[in-house]
Symmetry: C2
Subunit: 203 residues, 2 copies
């Protein structure tokens, strides 16, 4: 479906691992487009669903059973969560078919499973490192930070496992997984840049 030259890279990241920053710097280093929240805008634009709904439900499923019962979308009566997910899948496929890019999260590895030569990356970091980052970079209150990180982990895992036929964070789903604290953000980017160059044959 694609030539070797199409560098389509997905980054799945644990909350607080710095995976988004790694992804943005990697996109810059490779000179390709970068998609994080911008993806939600594109999904909103093409689906006609307001962007705020994508933001509110970003990488998590609604917990309320009543909500699922009461809220359906469109002619087919698709649960609203699912409508958001499918709109994102479409947006991811559209983006990837337009040119080389780095896409953060949103089950992009699953969305692009039929595309050839996609490079799937997983970024992790030890729990205590992620809690520290949540406090220092994202401004989460210190007393809530541990629980907050755990909750986001659960949400992302459950979202991914619900919508895909894979399990979140299994090394066999990715060509490379890196603990970003091993080398630090910038040298992790360097290592991934070299890996991507090798993977795509230094085109």
């Amino acid at each position: 479906m694609f030539t070797m030259a199409n560098r389509i890279i997905t980054i799945t990241r644990q909350y607080g691992s710095g995976g988004r920053e790694v992804g943005e710097k990697l996109a810059n280093a490779l000179g390709v487009e970068f998609y994080d929240n911008k993806l939600l805008e594109i999904a909103a634009g093409s689906s006609g669903i307001h962007k705020s709904h994508f933001e509110e439900n970003d990488e998590r499923r609604s917990n309320s059973f009543l909500y699922l019962l009461s809220t359906t979308y469109g002619q087919g009566g698709v649960p609203f969560d699912d409508a958001l997910f499918f709109a994102q899948l479409e947006a991811i496929r559209k983006i990837a078919s337009e040119g080389p890019c780095v896409i953060i999260g949103r089950c992009a590895d699953y969305a692009l499973r039929d595309f050839s030569k996609v490079l799937n990356i997983f970024i992790s970091a030890p729990f205590e490192v992620r809690v520290k980052r949540a406090i220092e970079v994202y401004g989460i209150a210190e007393k809530h930070a541990e629980n907050y990180v755990k909750r986001i982990d659960k949400q992302r895992t459950s979202y991914y496992n619900y919508y895909t036929d894979k399990r979140w964070g299994q090394p066999q789903n990715y060509q490379i997984c890196v603990d970003s604290s091993a080398l630090g953000i910038d040298r992790t980017v360097d290592a991934l840049k070299r890996f991507a160059d090798d993977f795509y044959g230094r085109t």
Copy 2:
């Protein structure tokens, strides 16, 4: 406990991923000692248990409950499986305290959890790639190969999960996980060599 200069690298590998070959070539590239089956000889030598027992029970637990009931070892009446495991742990710690090395499998990442600056690597490959390697490299009969790979996966996972407080093959247990089929064996070795050089500050 150790200086930065001590390059202690563990490799956990899926059966058929070529992880052993990656490890041996990485050890050569780094100019450090390489331990795979040699580890069992060392454990045998220091424990006084014959090497054949280590080989027969290598990275798997005996399945028979009767065997567990009937066979204990030493004064404390430790189950024989556990005696083998503990002898290996000791051997791994002894090896790592003697100098830089690459150690394959045997829960070495767990054995060395209190050593500082250990680089833990996980090598995977897609199931079909591993089945192919089992047939072509290890001479497993084609009709049995898929089940054979699945069985070894189960044995290694269950062995690791039983003896450690971690789960086999979770990216957060390793600084880096690589699918060896993404770049091929030799270029995977190059990538890991660079990662190790970065990790140890190019000493």
